[in-house]
């Protein structure tokens, strides 16, 4: 079963003294298996929307339904549990743990999923192989190229077989060719997952089925991708 996330009149305001509105009464529903791009100018609220979809942020107003459950009623522990088992993240800056090898970075994602220590590496190795880094498992992040590091990050997000994969500008630090390869890899590897990608790149948006456009925190367009 894949996930659905529904936002109902969700708003997010930054705390005082700024009080800036990051999202303004956004309503949308993410259906299971969808491939969605979120686009918009810098500061339009894309990353905030992604954080709310991934249960990293609670809204200031409105409600979130995750698999039909109202998130507001869930404790932080419950939200953490959902992220551990059902949600994978990929970030623009990769955010690998520098003191761990590629294999251990991927295995680290299974710590909070309750997988035993001796099983984590066994589960991580094939995922790294699948993203083409079978020969890099013992390399540290500083020994990998940008594209390789992003592939480790993708492997880390996918190792727990998430139902929802969220990527925030995953190709932002990569050249266009590498970035395109990374997107294809991500979409190919996450076949059963719902994928939401925040991007500035039209070429990335074209690869996805649905494009949500934000402007100053307001959802201004939500439609099928023109590809």
């Amino acid at each position: 079963m894949t996930s659905s996330v529904q936002l109902v009149d969700v708003s997010k305001r930054f705390p005082a003294p700024h009080q800036a509105i990051a999202l303004d009464r956004v309503s949308l529903k993410v259906e299971p298996g969808e491939r969605i791009a979120i686009i918009g100018a810098s500061g339009s609220g894309k990353s905030t929307l992604l954080a709310i979809l991934g249960l990293l942020e609670r809204p200031s107003d409105g409600s979130i339904l995750f698999e039909g459950r109202n998130v507001a009623a869930l404790s932080d522990r419950s939200l953490s549990r959902i992220r551990a088992l059902r949600i994978g993240f990929v970030f623009q800056a990769f955010y690998l743990l520098e003191r761990l090898t590629a294999l251990d970075n991927v295995a680290e994602a299974l710590v909070y999923a309750g997988v035993r220590r001796r099983d984590r590496r066994d589960l991580a190795a094939p995922i790294l192989e699948a993203v083409g880094l079978g020969s890099r498992v013992e390399h540290y992040p500083y020994q990998l190229s940008g594209g390789e590091r992003q592939r480790v990050a993708i492997a880390r997000a996918l190792v727990k077989e998430p139902k929802l994969l969220l990527a925030d500008e995953p190709t932002g630090d990569l050249d266009p060719v590498t970035g395109s390869a990374v997107i294809d890899l991500m979409l190919g590897a996450a076949q059963k997952a719902t994928v939401v990608i925040v991007t500035h790149s039209p070429s990335v948006a074209e690869k996805l089925d649905r494009v949500i456009t934000l402007d100053a925190g307001v959802l201004v367009k939500d439609g099928r991708s023109v590809s």
Binding site: S47, L56, E57, R77, S80, R83, Q92, L97, V111, Y112
Partner: protein
């Protein structure tokens, strides 16, 4: 590691202070039980008609008190002792000239560390033995014996050196002339101002209660009994008297070390914002993030505590060697050192751990965007 060093110094001071205090106390108490007790009957000079002197004949009576092991007596003369007559007579060097009789060494729990020949109190030869401090002041060493010194203008041959006493008795700074010679050559009348009695520690109370009635059945004022055991017990108490103060100082040191640990861990939280955010995104709960930093605090505690116990142990060993006692550190002090390190470090890690746990994951990740 530097924060662990701070904890180590604090714990080391604590363990060292407690270890040294217990070492000195144990050593002094061991002396008490091993060497017996020396009781001193002293003329206080408060009797009617001036000082109350004790006739030599009472020594036999004192010696008959059950369990008494040795008896001796001294009388201080108004004479000065000098290495040679070239030294002005008013430069006494703190040395007294005393007439002695009886077993002067045994009665003071001391030993003759050097002697050409035994010198009994009955000897009428112009010879003397010197106490430990007096020997050093006069420049008399074992290798020089027998060596002449000047007493009241007369030449006296030093034939022995009396070793140190457990409580630095007056005999240590005395030149001791046998009563036999003193009575023949110096007009000594045969009365003494101090009697030394050695008895086992466990019966010294009884002996003390019998001494004055034996020495002076009339019960006149002017005589006082003191005991080495009281002095040593007081010294043992003194060894621990400042324990509280130094423990308090060590506690201040540990507080400073704890603040250092808290500071380092707080900086670590700030520097690891991304890691915290990533872990939260991976599904870490607030509690597991907090445990991460508390664990680091515990690691600092283990390293600092172990190093501190070693430091304190070394300090105790060095102090024990200097004092001449066997080292004594109780397992409780070692466990306490570890315990204090753990408590300090865990308390210090609470604020940073809480701060890390309350960090919003999106804020942490947004920082790096």
């Amino acid at each position: 590691m530097l924060s662990a060093l701070g904890v180590a110094v604090g714990v080391g001071a604590l363990v060292g202070v407690l270890g040294l205090a217990s070492t000195v106390q144990a050593g002094l108490l061991a002396q008490l039980t091993a060497l017996g007790d020396v009781l001193t009957v002293v003329s206080t000079g408060s009797g009617s008609g001036g000082s109350m002197l004790m006739p030599g004949s009472v020594l036999e009576s004192v010696g008959r008190i059950p369990t008494v092991q040795a008896v001796a007596a001294t009388m201080t003369l108004d004479l000065s002792a000098r290495r040679t007559e070239l030294i002005p007579s008013d430069q006494t060097g703190g040395i007294s000239v005393d007439v002695f009789t009886g077993s002067i060494a045994a009665a003071n729990d001391a030993h003759m560390i050097a002697q050409v020949r035994p010198l009994p109190g009955s000897s009428q030869l112009p010879e003397a033995i010197v106490g430990w401090d007096a020997a050093q002041t006069l420049g008399v060493t074992a290798g020089l014996l027998p060596v002449p010194i000047s007493i009241g203008g007369d030449s006296i041959l030093v034939v022995g050196i009396l070793g140190p006493t457990p409580t630095e008795s007056n005999v240590e700074s005395s030149v001791l002339i046998p009563a036999g010679f003193a009575s023949v050559a110096l007009g000594f009348a045969g009365s003494y101002d101090t009697i030394y009695v050695r008895a086992p520690l466990d019966v010294s109370d009884t002996v003390a209660s019998l001494l004055l009635p034996t020495v002076d059945p009339s019960g006149s004022p002017g005589l006082e009994v003191t005991r080495d055991s009281s002095v040593l017990a007081a010294e043992a108490d003194t060894a621990t008297a400042f324990e509280g103060l130094t423990v308090a100082l060590a506690g201040v040191g540990l507080l400073v070390a704890g603040l250092g640990v808290a500071n380092i861990l707080t900086i670590s939280v700030i520097e690891r914002r991304v890691e915290i955010g990533v872990r939260r995104a991976l599904g870490a709960t607030r509690a597991s993030v907090a445990i991460l930093f508390v664990t680091e605090g515990a690691l600092i505690a283990c390293i600092g505590g172990a190093a501190g116990v070693l430091l304190g142990g070394w300090a105790t060993l060095i102090g024990a060697w200097r004092e001449g006692f066997p080292p004594s550190i109780s397992p409780g002090v070692i466990a306490g050192g570890f315990g204090v390190a753990l408590i300090v470090s865990l308390l210090a890690s609470l604020y940073p751990a809480l701060r890390a746990a309350m960090l919003a994951p999106s804020d942490a990740l947004r920082t790096m965007a």
